[in-house]
Amino acid sequence: MTETISDTNVETWTLRGYEMVVGLEVHVELATRTKLFSASPNRFGDEPNTNIDPVTLGLPGALPVLNRQAVELAMRLGLALNCTVQRSTFARKNYFYPDMPKAYQISQYDEPICIDGWLDLPGSIRVGIERAHLEEDTGKSTHIGGSGGRIHGSDFSLIDFNRAGVPLVEIVSRPDIRTPEQAKAYVSELRAILVAVGASDAKMEEGSMRVDANVSVRLPGADLGTRCEIKNVNSIRSVGRAIDYEAQRQVGMLEAGESIRQETRHWDENDGRTHTLRSKEDADDYRYFQEPDLVVVDPDPEWIERVRAGLPVLPAARRAQLAAATGQPADAEAILVVTDRDQDAYVLTVAEAGGDAARALVHVKEAFAEQGERPAVPAADLARLTRLEVDGKLTATQAKQVLAEIVAAGGGDAEAIAAAKGFEAMDTSELEAMVDAAIDAQPDAWAKFCAGEGKAMGALVGAVMKASKGQADGKAVTALLERRRTA
């Protein structure tokens, strides 16, 4: 499910004087052909334990070999996030878990590949990126029996190692986020960038994008408060809800004179609360040390520049371009939706073909949800339809009906379809007659309308629409009524 942020103003989240301070850690699976350290396919949804090999299973004697494509995708997304790409190393993060084949995860620790970037959100909010580092995913456990699908108390567990060794990048933001809306916008924008640069399909519902939130609260200007890490946040909507809940919980505790314990908490989608998973005291000592089976990754400047040069135009720039062409604000919902669907280029093509960009934007947003990046409808056909609209030859309602046919047929001549439907542009005298008839039929409504009761207009417009069998242009009817009133 793709959610987008609303176009309402981002308000400052405050609760009884406290502000929230949020940093996000986002894990994304890279869209590589093979795994991070072996030649097994990186593919979601295959039969369990089919995409495995000695390296994936951590068999004795097997050794990791770094996937060049994964490094390049990490560089791509890092550069798209304005990061510096640097000399980097891998470390072992040691802990026991049955779906962790080697009992250590190979991850970048003190020398990550990408550092010091930023992400601009619609509405001129800049969130710093501390780092983006490469690491391998674990396998997937399914706990059978017992309660709640947890390992504790289950009868047995099934492990699928297809996901083990899938390349991940963990993108760590700075604690620059102050509201749930900003957090949602950050995830949404990050997702759009990841998809745009081809680094990941970033599907939260398939787990190829996973969000952990570090939340604390403080009085403005005070030092950072103790933070809690929220896990299991599985949709953009949950990101907002979980952060909101957690910040409220912390404010409540502080106001009750309690102190916040640093801990990892689990977001429960059903009860809308976070619950303690483990406290800092219970945290594993991961005993990080440099991975001796791998060598330093030090991309040379030519490689970095080649990757940078290969970056596509990023979503923010594309939205700005679409906004300029359509005259809409860059964070208007239609701009966000259409750009997210990669249909912005199509709208611009319609404009180039002589169409009206603003009308095209509305139509694409409303009617092209199923069409993908390259809609079947020729741009020229949509251009012609929008021209008929702006020339007053079709009402918005009629245009919608014509468009429906064009979309169903994968194209068509708007003028011919309109003619076949009998949508001749309604002659003004005919419309005026209908308006007069409506006034005559409802003298009370007319009187109220004249007295300035806006609501009374609905009844009059409704009558005209009924008389015209829905073909009258609502705006034209309103204009006529206004003219009659002031006459």
């Binding site: 000695p54 299973l57 951590g58 068999l59 004795p60 004697g61 097997a62 050794l63 990791p64 070999v65 770094l66 072992r92 040691n94 026991f96 049955p98 084949p101 080697k102 009992a103 250590y104 390992i151 504790h152 567990s157 492990i159 000592d285 005993r287 990080y288 040390f289 001796p292 089976d293 791998l294 060598v295």
Partner: protein
């Protein structure tokens, strides 16, 4: 074995390639030697008689149709049982790998097969290569063929004993802190630890990844070179493998040492017994007589190698051995929950020395201790490398004892881990630096037991190291 029958790898390969001797005959000779003495020695965890016979027949068939099986045609070779062999148990002499059969071959095994060698068996070792006597084996100790009341050294004791006893013409071991060179010295055979990255580690069950390196045991320097040439060279499956072709050694073996600067380390840690020290002096004399220049060099940090090693190696081992958790393969002790299963499996599956090192290493890497132990050890490691680099400005090769003493009796050191660790004093530094080292037999010491002299050289200078060893071999007291 009769004099006319070939025993060296070089002679065997020449005879088999030229259809003078059959690979099958060579194999049967070795199998019968195994029949005679293996009961006393226990060099092998597994003798692969059937597989070897099939392989020997293939080689003879190839020769009969005019194909060349390769430079090791028909040469019986024993593998330390920490190298993966497809479908054949690979135990590391540990109970924890009970029942595991690797689904793949180590790169060295593939290369040996491509060179025409015949794998005759998997040899005993100290569990996970942790030890210096081959007494830390879940399957019982290996004994020294020169005196079966004594240890063969370790951890590659089975591979050293197999060559010394004539069970195999050559063998492979692995050397993390001296595990090839020390048993070679104690068993009176040649043993080589190549430059780190010269031989692929893919399929070698890891002990300490940044130190482990596979190398050959042989009756003589020439055979060791032949095997090393066959197994070295870049492997895309090992990221630490050096990007270059196989080592080129054999052609330079007879070049002698005239003009070569042979370094004597002035501040070498004490501990060598008088008989070993005497042989080392004779080795310097022999090289001087052959035209080498003997120079004094300082390697001040040499003596800190042992301490740094016993932090770095266990730290890496604690991580490498964490995968033996009973989940996917090997030994498992059932228990009510996962953590209890891990604990029961590992408690039952690992021997005492392995547990000791896992605990040592876990401690050295722990939060709050890392800087004082592991971090400090890495600094010492860099310092040792710098000291050796400076020494190699003045000397082309260095000479030291390979082992402080000749072979000791079984049980002598098992109750005192520190005395066992001291066996590796002279061999450890080259694992820390990644440079090559080899032990070459040079006379005998107390009780007529073999003494080995160690030749050290800078990274990738195996040819120079072998030239020196070949000169020592020619001039060794008989």
């Amino acid at each position: 074995m009769s004099d006319e029958f070939p025993t060296s790898a070089m002679d065997i390969a020449w005879n088999v390639r030229n259809n003078v001797t059959s690979a099958a005959d060579v194999l049967e000779r070795h199998l019968s030697t195994i029949d005679e003495r293996e009961g006393d020695i226990h060099a092998f965890n597994l003798v692969l008689a059937d597989e070897a016979r099939t392989r020997a027949a293939e080689i003879d068939e190839a020769v009969s149709v005019g194909r060349d099986p390769g430079p090791l045609a028909g040469v019986p070779i024993a593998l330390k049982d920490n190298m993966c062999t497809r479908g054949i148990p690979t135990t590391c002499s540990s109970k924890i790998l009970d029942g595991w059969r690797p689904p793949y071959d180590a790169t060295v095994v593939t290369k040996l097969r491509d060179a025409g060698a015949v794998v005759i068996g998997k040899t005993n070792l100290d569990e996970f290569a942790m030890g210096s006597s081959t007494e830390n084996s879940a399957f019982g100790a290996t004994r020294n063929p020169h005196d079966t009341t004594r240890v063969p050294g370790g951890s590659s004791g089975g591979s050293a004993a197999a060559v010394a006893a004539g069970f195999a013409a050559v063998s492979l071991g692995s050397d993390t802190g001296g595990s090839i060179r020390q048993p070679a010295a104690l068993c009176g055979v040649v043993g080589v630890k190549p430059t780190y990255g010269a031989v692929s580690r893919y399929g070698l069950v890891a002990f300490a990844s940044s130190l482990d390196q596979i190398g050959p045991f042989a009756h003589d320097v020439g055979d060791a070179a032949l095997v090393l040439e066959a197994i070295s060279g870049h492997d895309a499956m090992d990221s630490t493998s050096i990007r270059q072709g196989p080592l080129d050694i054999s052609r330079q073996l007879m070049m002698g040492v005239a003009g070569l600067r042979v370094g004597r380390i002035t501040d070498l840690p004490e501990g060598a017994s008088p008989d070993v020290a005497a042989r080392l002096e004779e080795a310097f004399d022999a090289l001087r007589n052959a035209g080498a220049e003997i120079v004094d060099v300082d390697v001040p940090a040499f003596g800190y190698g042992l301490t740094a090693y016993y932090l770095i190696a266990p730290a890496e081992a604690s991580s490498n051995l964490a995968r033996y958790d009973g989940v996917r393969f090997g030994h498992r002790v059932e228990a009510p929950d996962t953590n209890a299963m891990y604990m029961a499996t590992r408690t039952d599956g690992f021997g005492a020395e392995v547990k000791r090192r896992i605990m040592l290493g876990t401690y050295a890497l722990s939060a709050g201790y890392y800087d004082a132990y592991y971090g400090r050890a890495l600094k010492v490691r860099r310092r040792i490398a710098a000291d050796f680099a400076a020494a190699y400005e003045q000397a082309d090769v260095l000479l030291t004892p390979a082992s402080p003493t000749v072979a000791f009796h079984l049980g002598d050191k098992t109750s005192d881990p520190m005395s066992m660790y001291l066996c590796d004093t002279y061999t450890i530094p080259s694992n820390l630096t990644g440079d090559p080292g080899m032990s070459v037999p040079f006379g005998t010491g107390d009780d007529g037991l073999p003494v080995g002299v160690q030749v050290l050289a800078p990274a990738l200078q195996e040819a120079r190291m072998f030239r020196t060893a070949a000169e020592l071999e020619r001039s060794a007291p008989r």
